[in-house]
Amino acid sequence: MRRGAWQFASFRGRLLVFVLVPMLAVLAGVFFSVERSTSANTRTVINDSLLVGRDTLQRLLAERRDTLLASSALLTADFAFRTAYATENYATRLDTAQNYLRRVGIADAMIIVSPDGIVEVDTLHPGRQGVSFAWPELLDAADQSESYTASSVVLIDDDAYQLSVTPFLAPDLKAWIVVGRRLDDAFVRELKRLVRAEVSVVRRTAGKATVLASSLDATHRAALARSAANADASRPAAGTRGAAGTGLLELEGAAYVTLQEPLLQLEGSGEVSTVLQRSLDQALAPYRPLNQRLLLLFMLGVLVAGVIALWLAQNLSQPVAALAKRVERIARGDYAQVMSSTRRDELGQLAGSVNDMARGLADRERVRDLLGKVVSKEIASELLSGKVELGGEERQVTVLFSDIRNFTTLCEQLPATQIVGLLNRYLSRMSEVIESQGGVVDKYIGDAVMALFGAPVARADAATAAVRAAIAMQEALDELHALHDAEQLPRLATGIGVHTGTVVAGNLGSTHRMNYTVIGDAVNLASRLQGLTREHDSAIIVSAATAAAAPGFAYRPLGEVRVKGKSELIVIYGL
């Protein structure tokens, strides 16, 4: 039963596993591929928007440059400015430059540089003059360019400035007018408004990063500075590099897709760059409800599949278990019919078949019982085994003959019914003893019993078993004496003859009615020996052949006898 329970559980478990594992695998695959593709798609969208942002940054810088150039071109064409500059008075020149800044309102600094590269006026550092202009290459670039102008991003006192250079021609070159606009928070805010991304201007020099301007709040600025400082020296603040120059950067636990655009290469490995960032989490936010719904749907699917699998398992395993129990009962010999299943599927057919089988087995068992009563169990099983055919074989067997003495006289003394009862009890008892010793009752001949040892099943100790059975029969008879005494019935006296010899054993008779029995001289001799018991006054007489085959008993030699129908003398023993 325990084993059955385990199997039941196992079947249900197995079915659950077979249904749920592939389903979970498929669902997980679907979920993760959806997740991956939305994530990848979002990355692509952000990447594209950052690339557009980079173009916008370039465009914005170009526009600011053009504005600066246009305003300084207008300034240098102004005769008042020309006149003021011509005064060669420092205070007047500085004042004019500051006036210009006030008027145009878009520039934060003006530096006037002589044609040979000496600073004449610097509004960021009033009083500073006569020093070399810090970016002579900018002047060279302007000098070489078709438009006489140049523009660049530079660092002035830890601030990033966009500088534009125009020549001051009156009408020959009097000076270079350098106008600067700071890339400050207002600039990054304007850029953020245009590109919808966080914008920062970051300066990075060996192992150190400073956020010069940013649309991020103070905490995120600090985080950006830290991660930029830790990033690869050649590409600060880039994070892991992705497609199209973007990377993922983590700030305060949130992932940002980051695009870095260099503005200025500093001496050594440092640089100033614009960092455009968009929050990946924010961009993914619209997809989150979809993912949740998907997950819920999947969980529901798994639940439903699990329930169905369980129901299926139950539905299959319950009748199977019932059938198993049924078969187990059948094995124990309980063929009681059970209401056949109403199912029409294979299980229903199986239940029907089991019912048929039980019916068949019951029939067979009945036949076997009946047969066992008519013939010995061994012969019955030999018959039931299906090898029923006429024919015989020579076998060495021991034949035992037992007969009640004076049975005819007894029959005359007692009523017939009492005789039948007495005889049946006697035969039953004797048969039991014979069978308990491994013998087979071949047939009853009136009050006589013919038993075989060594047939149909051959055995080596057939003679010994026969002798033992003869002794046991005598002892059983003693027990019967007590019963007879109590019932005031006459005691029974029996004679037993035992002989061992060759016989022909087999099914004898006609094709429709046959008997398993033995025939031959040995049978006759055993019968004759039984007949000799009265005259030798010995309850049991065995032949020399039996005594030789079953040594170890207290045989009394009774001499030689000539048996009817036999030419030679037979040595016999009493017991």
Partner: protein, 224 residues
């Protein structure tokens, strides 16, 4: 030079007369012939050579007036060579206003918007180069070379110039060009003039960029 073996008597006589006159007035005189090319070997026009040593006083008959006309928003003769003390006028031949000015060290002046003939002339009383512009038309640029002496000349389209009537001997001169570096301008060139014939002086100039605002076709768009 005309050939002495010429058979026609009249030209020979005229020629001899001319030689007589020339040689009689400036006995033993030679000339300085300067050929100027740039780094690429191309002839440099509009360069000025002025002999600064030895200095000779200006002759009395030197004309002391000159003009720089403006036609079609350009200076007609953008490189004018004058001697110190010359009065230069700026006649406006356009029907629009011009505003001629200069912030040069040699002369700072301003002739605010005017049309037609301006009676006011500008006296250039210091040697040097006066760069003249128009405040209305940025591309207009003129140079007035104010020399201390009359011994000067400007190069032609072939890059050649000739300063005649130089007695044999050693001279020092300067070369000026609008696109020449200041250090090159202040450089003295020494030469020994032969008593007859032209003394050739080839020179290669390193010119800077032509820094001037180009005239925009429409007058509206900036040139970049």
């Amino acid at each position: 030079m005309p050939s002495r073996t010429h058979t026609s008597p009249l030209p020979v006589v005229l020629c001899l007369l001319a030689m007589q006159l020339f040689c009689g007035a400036l006995a033993n005189a030679g000339a300085l012939e300067v050929t100027l090319v740039d780094k690429a070997g191309k002839p440099v026009a509009d360069a000025v050579v002025e002999i600064v040593s030895p200095v000779v006083p200006l002759p009395a008959n030197v004309p002391l007036t000159a003009s720089m006309d403006q036609i079609d928003k350009e200076f007609v003769n953008p490189l004018l060579l004058v001697v110190v003390g010359t009065r230069v006028s700026f006649p406006n031949k356009d029907n629009i206003h011009h505003h001629v000015y200069s912030f040069s060290e040699a002369k700072t002046f301003e002739l605010p918007l005017w049309t037609g003939n301006n009676t006011k002339s500008v006296l250039l009383d210091k040697p040097g180069v006066v760069v003249v512009g128009c405040n209305v038309h940025d591309w207009m640029q003129g140079h007035i070379y104010v020399a201390a002496t009359q011994r000067m000349a400007k190069s032609d389209a072939r890059g050649k110039l000739l300063i005649p009537n130089l007695p044999a001997g050693g001279y020092a001169f300067r070369i000026w060009h609008a696109r020449l570096k200041a250090s090159d301008i202040s450089k003295l060139h020494n030469v020994v003039i032969e008593d007859r014939g032209n003394t050739a002086y080839p020179a290669t100039l390193e010119l800077g960029r032509d820094r001037r605002i180009r005239r925009a076709p429409s007058g509206l768009a900036r040139d970049y």
